[in-house]
């Protein structure tokens, strides 16, 4: 493999991480909560895909993906309703502990259902097939991931900046109470934020697991952690930041492999995180935290 193919694989992983990272950054933007269960939700959506394809073999794969995405969104929504919403006025630490609890709950639930064994991700036609592009032979999902991630990000940013609902989201992210005084139902805005994050994680999981075949109950931990690092590196709360951060992490880890440092890929990601936290604690796109009263 030459350096270009490593670069493209890096962008692919970066694109997949980006779709997960957006979920972290959006939830943080609105609730100031690190949703630790988000990586597990990513894993759950992969497991759902496996069971849907196995149990409904006649269902066309496109519909199976839609069903899986709908279920993932539903689970994301329920997590918020039952684990975070009742703690709306509790200290932030309580909500974070609740998030850690949900994360273990999902892991253990999946381990119980699968018996802790690794399950084979179904072959996804088209995106799972190998093609040759720019002289590089790889699965289509590798070439497609960064493109899909960027298209979905652009759509999301347009929604947030140019629609009434997007305006409400930006308002709620700054001030719950005043948003309520405007007549915004903040719980609805928060639910929809979780739903969007879960949907993007579902898309990301198809792209990610279509090349990495086996999934077990720990499969969400590493992508979840990397996506979280990406969100922090990019500036947590910023959507473009999450994408840029994820692409940087993806490429950095892939280049590490190119230079025979595959064992050090975690070192490189965490190293980047530490450097960013020291040099620019708010991240690449992060806003200043000082606010005029």
């Amino acid at each position: 493999m030459n350096i270009t193919s490593y670069l493209i694989r890096g962008l692919a992983t970066g694109g997949q991480f980006a779709l997960v990272a957006i979920g972290y950054t959006m939830v943080y933007g609105i609730l100031k909560l690190i949703n630790f269960a988000h990586g597990e939700l990513f894993m759950v959506s992969g497991i759902l895909m496996i069971y849907i394809v196995a149990d409904l073999p006649t269902l066309p794969i496109g519909l199976a993906i839609c069903l899986m995405a709908a279920l993932t969104v539903f689970i994301g929504f329920m997590i918020e309703k039952f684990a975070y919403s009742p703690l709306r006025s509790a200290p932030r630490m309580s909500v974070m502990i609740s998030a850690i609890g949900v994360s273990y709950l999902l892991q253990n639930l999946v381990s119980y259902i699968t018996g802790g064994l690794s399950k084979q991700f179904p072959d996804i036609p088209i995106i799972g097939e190998s093609i040759r592009f720019l002289g590089i032979k790889d699965k289509l999902t590798v070439f497609l991931s960064p493109v899909i991630a960027i298209i979905l990000t652009v759509i999301l940013v347009l929604i947030i900046n140019h629609t009434k609902f997007g305006m409400a989201m930006r308002a709620v992210s700054k001030d719950f109470e005043t948003s309520q005084l405007m007549g915004i139902k903040i719980n609805r805005v928060i639910s929809i934020t979780f739903a969007i994050g879960a949907f993007l994680a579902a898309v990301g999981s198809v792209l990610y697991f279509a090349k990495n075949t086996g999934i077990n109950h720990f499969s969400g931990a590493n992508p979840g952690l990397k996506a979280f690092i990406a969100a922090v590196v990019g500036g947590i709360g910023s959507i473009p930041g999450a994408v840029v951060g994820a692409l940087i992490i993806g490429v950095a880890e892939s280049l590490a492999k190119a230079f025979g440092l595959a064992d050090f890929s975690d070192v490189i990601s965490f190293g980047l995180l530490i450097i960013i936290l020291v040099v620019k604690p708010t991240g690449i796109f992060g806003e200043k935290t000082t606010e005029k009263v």
Binding site: K164, T178, G183, I184, K185
Partner: protein, 240 residues
């Protein structure tokens, strides 16, 4: 229909066991400016926040146009025609001036272009800066934006919590003249102020609140000349 647009009856609000508002009853006449004055922590803001549905009172009644609105959500209360300009302005700093105004009209399904041009006529400065993010405005401009935003909901009753707080004296004068203009255009105003002098000069009727209780009430100029009010809130001593 009764002359009172808003009637509060024996309202009780608790904050963590402390009685912040204790059996308060007050009336706001339709088309008037009514003010509540009193020291910090007397419970004034809590009353307005209860009317808005942000704070849940323990018991009492809040009648708006004769209908009990206690227990409704903030959203339902805005729909009835009540709006609150919160203390400290609370504009959305990350939204543009125009977006802030649109947020005020969030629940409206009808066309609000007329209200937008009305707000721009009241505050020409906001039109000049409509594309600027609200966080970059001066304190006075932010207060104007907060009032403009409230007007965008096309309210029958506008409640203002300390609109003069932290503003330069000239700006304070502007704000009070705007309050009068808004009122002359038919909107009832319920105003909280620490600047008791300005508030009593502007209002038709005033209530004095001390530690959760109403201790005095009367027409603005009557209160302005009351010895006890003078001493406690206007900084003039009895012998001075």
């Amino acid at each position: 229909m009764s002359d009172n647009i808003l009637e509060i009856k024996t309202l009780n609000v608790r904050f963590g066991g402390i009685l912040a508002v204790n059996d308060i009853s007050l009336d706001v006449r339709r088309g008037k400016i009514v003010t509540l004055i009193g020291a910090n922590g007397a419970g004034k803001s809590t009353i307005l926040r209860s009317v808005s549905g942000i704070v849940k009172p323990v018991h009492g009644e809040i009648l708006f146009e004769g209908e009990n609105i206690m227990g409704l959500t903030p959203e339902q209360i805005v729909k009835k025609g009540i709006t609150l300009v919160p203390e400290g302005r609370r504009v959305f700093p990350n939204l543009t001036v125009l977006e802030n105004l649109k947020m005020g009209a969030y629940l409206r399904k009808d066309n609000y272009d007329n209200d937008l041009s009305y707000v721009y006529r009241l505050f020409p400065r906001l039109e000049e800066r409509s594309w600027q993010s609200a966080g970059t405005l001066s304190g006075g401009e932010q207060q104007m934006l907060a009032v403009g935003r409230a007007l965008m909901s096309s309210p029958k009753l506008i409640m203002m919590d300390e609109p003069s707080l932290g503003l330069a004296p000239l700006v304070v004068r502007d704000i009070f003249s705007i309050i009068r203009t808004i009122n002359e255009n038919g909107i009832t105003v319920l105003l909280i102020e620490q600047n008791a002098n300005m508030a009593l000069k502007t209002c038709d009727y005033g209530y004095v609140i001390e530690t959760g209780n109403i201790t005095m009430q009367g027409e603005g100029d009557k209160l302005l000349n009351d010895e006890r009010v003078k001493e406690a809130y206007l900084g003039k001593s009895r012998n001075g």
